[in-house]
Symmetry: C2
Subunit: 246 residues, 2 copies
């Protein structure tokens, strides 16, 4: 593990900025400013780390503070945007709380893309993509990540399958079971995706359509019933450990 520099301290706040960063001055206002001023209580001379999901993570220093805004000076690129294993998570929307947890875990575990998938039995119709993105940003800020999962627009399962990229394996967790996950994943290196159904499961027609896709591989996640968010985190972890960058 690389030596940990003494400054800036580990507790230095990290903030995601949704545009390309570069050396020089930067003005911060709105909710991020409130967070830095009132929650983190930053003063002139304090450090902030900014990352943009493009160039990487930058060290910035507070040069001036107002009631509701700050002036930062971006000094140097600390780390380039990290490499991300080529795994997608395709998941049907879940109830609030569970879908938030799933989006956070997908981000922490290093998923490259999160694809909300609309299925027949999904209880929640329209996934709130702003909310999903906000949860992923928060997870990335707290866990020191310099990359965010891409967040695809919601897509119907039929369209997802119809447009499926031929070089990508689609591992799907089916209640009916399948090849044990670790073995199935270790045997098929390369770009991959995990498909998780809604709380009610896939219906028979959907399951047939998925199984009909040449790139689809049914995986078993053990003999116990797992909730959708648990299955997502478990399947991602297994993939990362046998086919990803663990």
């Amino acid at each position: 593990m690389a030596a940990v520099p003494a400054w800036p301290p580990r507790s230095t706040p990290r903030l995601f900025v949704d545009e390309e960063l570069h050396e020089g001055p930067r003005h911060i206002d709105g909710p991020p400013a409130h967070y830095l001023l009132s929650v983190m209580r930053l003063k002139i001379g304090d450090a902030v780390k900014l990352f943009d999901d493009r160039t990487g993570e930058w060290l910035a220093v507070v040069e001036a503070t107002g009631k509701r805004d700050l002036q930062l000076q971006l000094r140097t690129l600390l780390r380039p945007r990290e490499p991300v294993p080529d795994l997608w998570l395709c998941a049907a929307p879940l109830k609030k709380g569970r879908v938030d947890w799933m989006a956070e875990k997908a981000c922490e575990l290093g998923v490259a893309r999160l694809v909300p998938v609309l299925t027949r039995r999904a209880v929640v119709g329209n996934p709130n993509t702003d909310r999903l993105r906000a949860h992923m940003i928060e997870a990335a800020e707290q866990c020191g990540r310099t990359a965010l999962p891409e967040l695809a627009g919601p897509v119907k399962l039929t369209a997802l399958l119809r447009e499926w990229p031929p070089e990508r394996t689609l591992f799907f967790a089916d209640e009916a079971g399948g090849e044990p996950a670790a073995a199935a994943m270790r045997a098929r290196p390369g770009p991959a995706a995990i498909l998780i159904g809604p709380e009610g499961g896939f219906d028979d027609a959907e399951r047939e359509a998925i199984r009909a896709l040449p790139q689809a591989v049914a995986i078993g996640l053990g003999p116990r019933i797992l909730r959708a968010d648990t299955a997502a985190a478990a399947a991602i972890a297994v993939w990362m450990s046998v086919a990803g960058d663990w």
Copy 2:
């Protein structure tokens, strides 16, 4: 997969009862009765599944209902208590919300025992074991489980290590990294435990004490920082997939 009988329906409510069940009449009152009467709206003739974490899962039929209580008749044992892989989760308390998720996931993923561990940097001092148990019971009820993780009393890390059973491997997720988890776990079959530190991590003395234990194996869960509840679920899933019953 075994054929799914048509009755009782999949939506049949499941209830945990903390004493040994047997054929015959059973009176239900209090919160469980409220749940069955007012939430699930059960009527005479409806089915209920009861499980006790001892004998297994029983089919019961509603014979009479009152305002706040029901009389059930337990007819038959549907399934014996399921086998449980021999994995412990030893985890420092986390903030509410996160620790609840961790307890639920531990139950869903089939952990045999959950051991709350007190460390120096744990933000939360006294884990609320009633709350942990309630979350595990709910997860078991909803996921069709017939076994609950044992919930050990909170123990200080020093005592946990001092009394460590010699035949059990202790995989610990250390920020400093270790052997990739899948390989480390596959190479060491048998009774195991996963040790997860608090949100602030272990301090240096604790890390030394853990590493000094002959049965301890430091595992790496990838290059990304994972929150404690994520690390717990990920490590359990990997163990289940390479050394458990997946």
